[in-house]
């Protein structure tokens, strides 16, 4: 997993170089739209290869764990749920479920933290900053 970013950087760098060439490297006595993409792409390729070369003999296991995807998956779930019930309710549900199911906290403290946090967000963003937050399908009723 240590190699994910260098490999991704090499692939992206290659794409940037190819597309950058199409945008034009040097146009009318100056850098074209492809100048920086080509330079950055080449940098990404060269230095990622250097990182991979340096780490080729390293045998220490990577710190990676699939647990790292849990917060992202939970947030995506919350965002999808917000299309149905709106963002504030989905946030309250997300905080409550995280505290209750994953952190195994008491029902009362989970409820207090979830409603407290959403209350502060409501006060700051809806009341003070007047930001129109998504209300989901529930808002159509």
């Amino acid at each position: 997993m240590k190699k994910v970013v260098p490999i991704l950087a090499i692939m992206t760098g290659l794409y940037w170089v190819i597309k950058g060439y199409a945008y034009g490297f040097w146009v009318r006595n100056g850098p074209g739209g492809g100048f920086l993409p080509i330079v950055a792409g080449l940098m990404a390729i060269v230095f990622s290869l250097a990182v991979l070369w340096k780490d080729r003999k390293e045998k220490t296991p990577s710190d990676f764990t699939w647990l790292a995807f849990l917060p992202a998956a939970a947030l995506l779930g919350m965002v999808f749920f917000s299309y149905l019930v709106g963002i504030l309710i989905s946030m309250a549900v997300y905080i409550f479920l995280w505290l209750k199911l994953i952190e195994k906290r008491k029902l009362s403290s989970s409820l207090a933290i979830s409603f407290g946090t959403v209350g502060v967000i409501y006060g700051l963003f809806v009341v003070w900053l007047k930001v129109p937050l998504p209300k989901g399908l529930l808002g159509l009723l």
Partner: protein
């Protein structure tokens, strides 16, 4: 003298009620964020940036700046009480702070950290007050060619300075430049790398990138590396116990002044930042301090060195930001992004065109530093509770703050998805030991770089000679080459020395 007059004028701006309130709340939030293990000034400023959009730019930046330097105060609390630095600049504080706390001197260690932070911060602000206008006048001599080279120097030096592996820093810089080239080219009107998505026409948004890489990635980190400690580990400290004796205060003052000066100089350098400042100052004190034998085992001088340096560096980092538009590190890069969003363009002309803003900010730093000192002492009992907030509670709360902070910028869910992707990218970068700060710096500086480089070629009619046309250009070019070659040369010398040593052992 003129500076004093301007400072006085700025003081009037800083002392207006909204600005004082902003500095006060910024200082409190910074202290709390700094004390919480795992959340740094970068995450704090990134998460709070969306809240300031409806504020006056001066009020907003005063609050965020207060958050930044009060964060340095807060970082020492968890370092001393739990041996868990709240932020990377407090790593050196823990080396002496925690042994002091274990030996029943937590109060003295906390007081030393607070007083030294105040000394260091004040030194940094005084130097900023004096050097700011001089640097700004000097900056007026910078044309597009010099600015191009200055940005190039900043981007390459941060790559080398951060992380053990310079190549890793440059990979991050390259990714930052690539991300910055997404969207319509502002000079040529050409669409680049938007993959037909309307959301990417105006480029990768700054806020989702910052919140994802420095806010949400912290959440992932908290889930993966659970920080566990028992509440019993934390000693109870009262305000009375925290008061330093006259002899102790006398002992730490020269250390704080020395390291405050060094910290400011390091803070001014692009890419070095508060962490490097505290490391360098601590190592220096370990060599020259009268009490050097004790430093590392639990000496007040060790705490003073680290804390004075990191606060001075935080203040020093504002000098290149305000005068040349070049951020010294990650947090100042976020502040630069914020300034641009408020319609201000940091650079040599900022001192001329927006004196109210610049001097209001500098004056507010003096007031903010005093506020931090007072709040830090007053909040010692509260901070005991703050450092005990478990990461289990912080994970869902910070997650929703990341989502709402990202969404409210453009009222667009695409930004939220982008923020999540950036958070995952930052996590994988951490696994690969690729630092994220150079990416942010490159992302912020690339549009300026692209614009300056084109202006330079327009002026010179396509000739490269413009980049060696002035002494400033030549110096900057030489520095950039030096910074790029130094690690290679050092590595070669190290290799040679090792082979000579091993040959000597064999013989």
């Amino acid at each position: 003298m003129e500076n004093l007059q301007l400072l006085w004028m700025g003081l009037e701006t800083a002392c207006s009620l909204p600005n004082l309130i902003s500095a006060f709340f910024g200082a409190i939030i910074g202290l709390v964020v700094g004390a919480m293990p795992g959340i740094g000034s970068l995450s704090g400023v990134a998460l709070l940036l969306p809240l300031t959009f409806k504020m006056n730019p001066t009020t907003a930046i005063i609050g965020l700046a207060a958050l930044y330097y009060s964060n340095m105060y807060g970082g020492s609390f968890s370092a001393i009480l739990l041996n868990i630095p709240g932020d990377s600049p407090a790593v050196m504080t823990a080396l002496d702070g925690y042994p002091l706390a274990r030996s029943g001197r937590a109060g003295a260690a906390l007081s030393t950290a607070i007083c030294s932070s105040f000394f260091g911060g004040t030194i940094g602000i005084i130097i900023l007050t004096i050097s700011g206008p001089i640097l700004a006048k000097w900056g007026l001599a910078f044309g597009p060619a010099e600015l191009t080279l200055l940005i190039l120097f900043a981007m390459t030096s941060i790559g080398w300075l951060l992380g053990e592996n310079p190549s890793a820093g440059l990979v991050a810089t390259a990714i930052g430049v690539m991300l910055a080239t997404v969207g319509v080219d502002r000079c040529l009107g050409q669409e680049r790398f938007s993959f037909g998505s309307v959301n990417l026409f105006s480029g990768v948004s700054f806020i989702p990138l910052v919140i994802g890489m420095f806010g949400f990635s912290q959440v992932i980190d908290m889930v993966v590396n659970r920080i566990t400690y028992s509440s019993a580990e934390i000693q109870k400290v009262t305000l009375k116990q925290s008061m330093l004796k006259g002899k102790e205060l006398k002992g730490i003052t020269p250390t704080a002044i020395r390291t405050g000066l060094i910290g400011t100089i390091v803070g001014v350098m692009p890419g070095a930042g508060a962490t490097a400042a505290s490391f360098i100052s601590y190592i220096m004190e370990k060599r020259i301090n009268k009490n050097r034998e004790q430093i590392g085992k639990g000496a007040l001088e060790g705490v003073a060195a680290a804390e004075a340096a990191n606060n001075a560096a935080a203040a020093g980092a504002f000098a290149p930001l305000l005068t040349l538009g070049i951020p010294g590190g990650g947090t100042t890069a976020v502040l630069l992004g914020g300034l641009m969003m408020w319609g201000l363009r940091p650079g040599p002309l900022l001192f001329k065109e927006n004196p109210d803003f610049v001097w209001g900010l500098i004056s507010s730093m003096y007031i903010g530093n005093i506020i931090c000192l007072l709040i830090s002492f007053a909040c010692i009992p509260l901070m005991m509770k703050v450092v005990k907030v478990p990461s289990a509670v912080m994970v869902p709360v910070i997650s929703v703050v990341c989502v709402i902070g990202t969404y409210t910028v453009n009222n667009n869910m695409f930004d939220v998805y982008l923020m999540i992707v950036m958070g995952i990218l930052a996590y994988f970068m951490k696994i690969a030991k690729i630092p994220a700060a150079p990416l942010l710096l490159a992302f912020v500086l690339t549009p300026m770089f692209e614009s300056y480089v084109r202006q330079a070629f327009d002026i010179s009619d396509g000739s490269f000679g413009i980049f060696v046309g002035s002494n400033i250009s030549k110096t900057l070019l030489a520095l950039t080459v030096l910074f790029c070659l130094a690690p290679v040369v050092m590595g070669f010398i190290k290799k040679e020395k090792t082979s000579v040593d091993s040959a000597a052992i064999e013989n």
